[in-house]
Every structure is written in structure tokens, then in C-alpha cells.
Symmetry: C2
Subunit: 253 residues, 2 copies
Amino acid sequence: MVKVVLIGNGNVGCYLYNTFKETKGIKVIEWYSRNQTKFKDSNVKISNSIEELPDADLYIIAVNDSSIIEIVNRLKINTGLVVHTSGAVNMNILDSFKNYGIFYPLQSISKKHKNTNKSFPYLLEANNKKNQYLLEKIVKKIKSNFYCLNSIQRANIHLAAVFVNNFTNHLFAIGQRLCNENNLPFEILMPLIIETTEKIKTLSPKEAQTGPAKREDEITLDKHLDILKDPILKKIYLTLTDSIIKLNEKEKL
Amino acid sequence: MVKVVLIGNGNVGCYLYNTFKETKGIKVIEWYSRNQTKFKDSNVKISNSIEELPDADLYIIAVNDSSIIEIVNRLKINTGLVVHTSGAVNMNILDSFKNYGIFYPLQSISKKHKNTNKSFPYLLEANNKKNQYLLEKIVKKIKSNFYCLNSIQRANIHLAAVFVNNFTNHLFAIGQRLCNENNLPFEILMPLIIETTEKIKTLSPKEAQTGPAKREDEITLDKHLDILKDPILKKIYLTLTDSIIKLNEKEKL
């Protein structure tokens, strides 16, 4: 049985709590949060005293990036493995502990939307092989997969995730705005959005690229810039079009 | 039986040919293309003489936007309905004909990738109700759905499609590049990409937005800008981040 202390009850903390609750061989023995009120329905021992946590195999710090250092400074851990769940924070923030590492779920986790597909990977890192092995064992128990990355690789993947998830979602928001402004339902775009993702299951994004920027179709590009009145949308259009054209030219070389 | 003459053998022309071939009640009686060599395996009468097309109920001009006017000027049609398949070109380009309209498939169609989901909509427009009805009948026969839009609405949806499809795909290409540069497979990002689309089936894109720009997390934003060396990628990052922050601020008002 792997005994876990969970620190933080945000999106990732709650997701991990619920995942571990359903997993044989892992037990959350205590859950720390500054905010006790959210925990009334929980079946786990709740704590708001970070200095007095019980002995455990694994301490998972699942708090905002900017709060990790505060937790690190207050935690008193002897032998347990201490990990954080951030994509962007270097592992060396934990190097005051004897055993430390990273347990970063590469997924957009939010309480508002229940994740149906649990097959996303965890990006793991640890200060030695024994600790790495414990993290791998936990991922296997929850039936996910993993990649072993160093902090630089992880920071780059976290950045890539911003492009393919956060920025992509913002483009969807722009699509919705253009629908609203023309009295059309956003559903009209959904089959195209779904196909955009379907396509890159069999083609690389470079092969799948279509559209006026790819064709360098200046008549359509001008038409679109003429329709767009908002200077921010115009700038997004120009910046992404420019990048597609430059990538095209590079490929021709 | 609806008799169709198809003009053009690009992505859309070929897609429509294959779709109609499988559809009861629609027959492609002739297929025009400047380029004859691509047609060797076809079971339809092929023509390269645009001035001598047979009588038909429907003439579908499925050529590049910039070639539509050339086809229009050479076509001699008395009573058949003439449509084009472009998202960006106004219907009035066809107003020299008696019966004209638009038959625009709102999907990213390419020969390289076989479309599995045929439930995408066609955006229809016609110069009178009878012609509109014929286009609706055809969409129903091929078991798709449709929206009746004017040319301004269609141009806006075409523009929205560039944001949600072409630009989104380019963000995926950037994600792939960041993976390659860090010796990681692009597959690492696929579950996140799939979840990005899954999320907006139940949440609006505004509600689904997460990430450092949404949180206005300047430490992470600075880290990412520090990692990005390519000035084009830096500009994309800054432009989209700025747009997310501005949208956030607008919502707080």
C-alpha cells in the first residue's frame, strides 16, 4: 500500500484524490488545504496544519506554481518522497528534501469538466532511480502512462501545451464570437473543429495544413482582413498567417 | 433523378463526385476538368470542353476561388441551376445566370485524408426559393444537414473556419516543432489536443479557457517567453496571450 499525503485541493488535487480513491494499492491518508470549508463531504482526514503531517511514502504538492515555495519552506519531511505537479517549475525547488521529484499530469484538468479519457500521460522526474521507480509504480496502478523527462524538456512540453490547448481554445472562442456576431450558432463549426483534430491522427500537422495562408491566396487574405474590424483579431490573423507562410517557404527550400 | 454536371476535380470536386456516386437519386452525368490525365479510373463521362456541357439540373463549380470567374464567363447554361462551392466568394459572381446559388461544404476536405464523419453542414444560398429547395433536397439525399445563409454570413463563417481549423492546425504544428526540438514524440500532446475539443462539447470556449494567460500568471508567461527564441513564435505567444487577457478584462466589466 502506497501511503499518500495530498497538499492542495485545486483542480489537480481534487482530480488526484478522486483517482486514488478508486485505485487499489494507493491510499490518501491525509489531505491538507488552507481552506477547510470545501471538504465537508470528504472521507479522508483533513488537515490545515502543514507542519504536522503524518509519515507517508509520497507527499504530492498540488498547489499554484507561485505557492509551491511557501509549502516547501514549511514542510518537515524526513524520508518520504516529495513531488510537485507543475509543468513549469524546475525540480530543484524541492532540493532541500532527501527524496524529491515531479508528478505532472499533461492534461487540462478542471472541476467544471469531468475528464472522460484517463489515458493522458504523466511527466515524471526524480532525484534518483528508486524515487523514479515509485512514481512509475503509481502511474501504472492508476492505469495511465508516463514519460521520464528532465525539467527543461518538461518546461518545453508545458509551453507546447499552451499552444495546442490554451491558444487553440482561444481560437475556438474567436470562432464563437464570429458566429454570435452573425446570429449563427457555434454548433455550425463543431464538425470542422472535430475534423481538425481527427486529421492529425493520421497526417502530421504540416501535411494537414490547408487554407488561404497555406495557398498564399492574397485575395481571400485581403477579404478576411477587410471583414475583421477588431484590431486584436486583425493582429492575430496577420501573425498566424505570416507564420504559416514563413513555414511554407522554409519547406520549399 | 437529379442530373449533375461537376466542374473541377480538386479536393471538393472529388469529394462530391464520390459522395454522389453513393447516393440514390443523384447522377453525375458529366465531369469537366482542364486536366484529363487524373481521370483514367473514373466511371463518368469526362469533358474538357466547358462550352459544350449537356443539359442538367445542377452545375457545380468546384474550382479555386480565383478560377470561378473564368468558368462563369465561358459557361453557356440556359435553365439549369449553377452553384459554386466557395466560402469566401459572393453569390453575385453568378448573377449572369437565370438560376444560381451556393453549395458550400463547411469542412476541411482533402484527398490526403478521408473524411470519416459526413455529418458536417452545407451552407446554402440561392437566388429564389425553388433553387433553394433543390439544394436542400440534394443535401437531404446525401444525408447531411444545412444552414441557409446570405453571402455576408457565409464569408464570416469562412473566416471563423480559418481561425478554428487553419490556425488551430498551425498551433498543432508549433506543438510538434517544440516536441521535435526536445526529442519527444508529438504523440505526447495528443490526449491534451483531444481533450481540448472534448471540453467544448459541454462548456463554451470562454468557460473552458485555462492557462497562464487566463490566470494572468506573469511568472509563467515570462518563463515561456524566455524559452521561445524564434521571434515569430514569440510574437504569436504575445499576441494570443494579450487577446486572452483583454477578453478576461472585458468579462470582468
